[in-house]
């Protein structure tokens, strides 16, 4: 039975993954911004078999409160061995280009709030000598593109941070999993027409759960994005800068 903290627990991918944990009777502590939705998610997980479900309402940009919320989770779960960080927004690229203020907000929510949490959690796990940190990043962090490079900047920096953290924590037995979903059919992407490359949150959730259990380092979901991004990364910059996507 795992003791799992889920941050951004009302996101579609996090909720789908939490259902898989609940089915095997894990203990869960959920963090999200919207109280009513958090309650709806928690009730569902209890009925679906989670042994205990605790919750805390938090705007993740309030980094001052991170320490306290993590402590609440540890107290509720009587320990902590797994964390899934899943919160974030899909930045409005055009709005960010027009406004530094907006760009900074996006980086605060998609990057800085995550780094704050990871700092607290990494230190705790390093001391206890075990634990799994699973963080949802994105294929958008693999190469900057004109259509979403603000979002990509946050995810790219996050990927580097996670690489370093994985390297640092390896010897203390703490695992760090970088999750890079491609296109997922969630409310975050509701405005985008869907094609064959789109995956459901349920499919992504299964992959995430397996990757945590198998102690993987970096996963692409679905798997074929590893190859797509591999090709995209090899395009020389002199060519890439002329492309429009």
């Amino acid at each position: 039975m795992r003791k799992i903290l889920i941050v951004g627990a009302t996101s579609a991918i996090a909720e789908a993954t939490a259902r898989l944990f609940a089915r095997q009777g894990d203990c869960l502590f959920l963090v999200a911004r919207d109280e009513a939705r958090l309650v709806a998610v928690a009730e569902n997980l209890r009925v679906r078999g989670a042994t205990e479900v605790g919750q805390a309402t938090l705007d993740l940009c309030e980094t001052d409160r991170h320490e306290q919320v993590v402590a609440e989770a540890v107290q509720f779960l009587e320990g902590l061995d797994t964390v899934l960080i899943a919160h974030g927004t899909l930045s409005d690229q055009k709005a960010c280009e027009a406004s530094w203020q907006r760009t900074r907000q996006e980086l605060e929510i998609n990057l800085l709030s995550t780094l704050s949490l990871l700092t607290i959690l990494a230190n705790r796990f390093e001391v206890q000598g075990y634990g799994a940190l699973a963080v949802i990043s994105s294929v958008a962090g693999d190469r900057g593109r004109q259509s979403n490079y603000i979002y990509g900047t946050g995810k790219g920096a996050l990927n580097i941070f996670l690489q370093g953290l994985r390297n640092r924590l390896h010897r203390s037995g703490v695992r760090v999993l970088t999750i890079k979903p491609g296109f997922v059919d969630t409310p975050m992407t509701a405005g985008i027409p869907k094609g064959a490359l789109w995956a459901t949150p349920e499919r992504v959730a299964h992959t995430i759960k397996n990757a945590i259990e198998r102690k993987r380092d970096v996963i692409y979901v679905p798997w074929f994005w590893r190859w797509i991004m591999g090709i995209i990364r090899t395009i020389p910059e002199t060519v890439f800068k002329r492309l429009s996507f």
């Binding site: 009513a36 939705r37 709806a40 009730e43 569902n44 009925v47 679906r48």
Partner: protein, 436 residues
Amino acid sequence: MREGRYGSWGRYPRRPQQAVSMRWRDRVPDGLFAEGSVLPFGNGRSYGDSCLNSAGYLLDARGLDRFIRFDPVEGTLACEAGVLLSEILDLVVPRGWFLPVTPGTAHVTVGGAIANDVHGKNHHRTGTFGCHVRRLELLRSEGTRHLCSRTENADLFRATVGGLGLTGLILWAELSLRPVASEAMEVRTTRFGNLEEFAALSAQADQDHEYTVAWVDCLARGDSLGRGLFMAGDHAAGNSVPRIKPRLDMPVDPPFPLVNGLSLRLFNLLYYHRPVSRGLHRQHYRDFLYPLDRISRWNRMYGRRGFMQYQCVVPRKSGTDVIGELLGQISASGTGSFLTVLKVFGDIESPGTLSFPRPGLTLALDFPNRGKRTLDLLDDLDRVVVDAGGAVYPAKDARMSSNAFKSYFPRWLEFEEFVDPGFSSDLWRRVAGGGG
């Protein structure tokens, strides 16, 4: 907003739909009711146009798929309206509970089951799905929320059960469950030679068994008109749970419809004469109650033109005569159905103002869509059913006339008072001329 993946199970009529998805019961998407009418859409298992709203939007409620409370002592379950019955069974059967009423597929949502006040093979024992709804919450287009039950907002409750999604959006419901000992069922199959034999078998079996249903060879004529197989089943105790048959799929449209005159004749002949084991045999509940769920997307069998279901109920008094007349017309038309199902509805009253089930004999068939020929045949059948004082099931209909509807549902004006002005459907505009 998206198009493309919304359609009805019969794939007729095919009309492009626009949809808005809903994932949370606390808040509706911004500006939802601002332009055009909406219609809740669950899992798209209604056959005709009762789940389409070509002039407005579909409100995709499948994302409302959370459980709220399960009381394993009392046997009650509260869940959001987009939860599938199959998901409920996966949760409650291992804890010794079952749904008191389920239709022939478990791939329907709770909201859809209420809105169509669905029935099952145990109608003579437990009535309709709506009989077991303790409470529900309804969201109306003006933004108000109403708790409805037999005692609170009772008139709105009666309109919503069987109300075809027109009285507002069902957000969640609380259901009563019934205990079962295991996943196993005990089933007995008996061959019958004509409708008289069916009536006699049914009268006895409905006393002795919880689930009864008959398959009828719709192409048989003369003395063997109405011959078929009668299936009776009950939940069973015991540790040996039968294996579930392997699942199948119809992943693409066949290049031509697999249902044609020859395949129908062959299937009906072979199925009637299939070896029937004497005595009881054990089956998994899924194989007994939901045989077609084994083949996902079986509706593709009929090809791109789709098919039409026809389910009617006629009063018991002259029931077998009327069913005989209907079967005679179908047999003479040469167009027919793989699955012709005959069952006796019991006397338990449906709670819905517009509910379809009522005491009598119910006959259900599906017809490959052959355009005018099929529509004419169904109009002929309607004339017989109207004369008999019966009704046709809106959840399976794509073509009944407004006059036929008003004859089938004499309380429709009483119902209309509770229709939400922001809601409508293709079916509703056709039969009642209502809504934008």
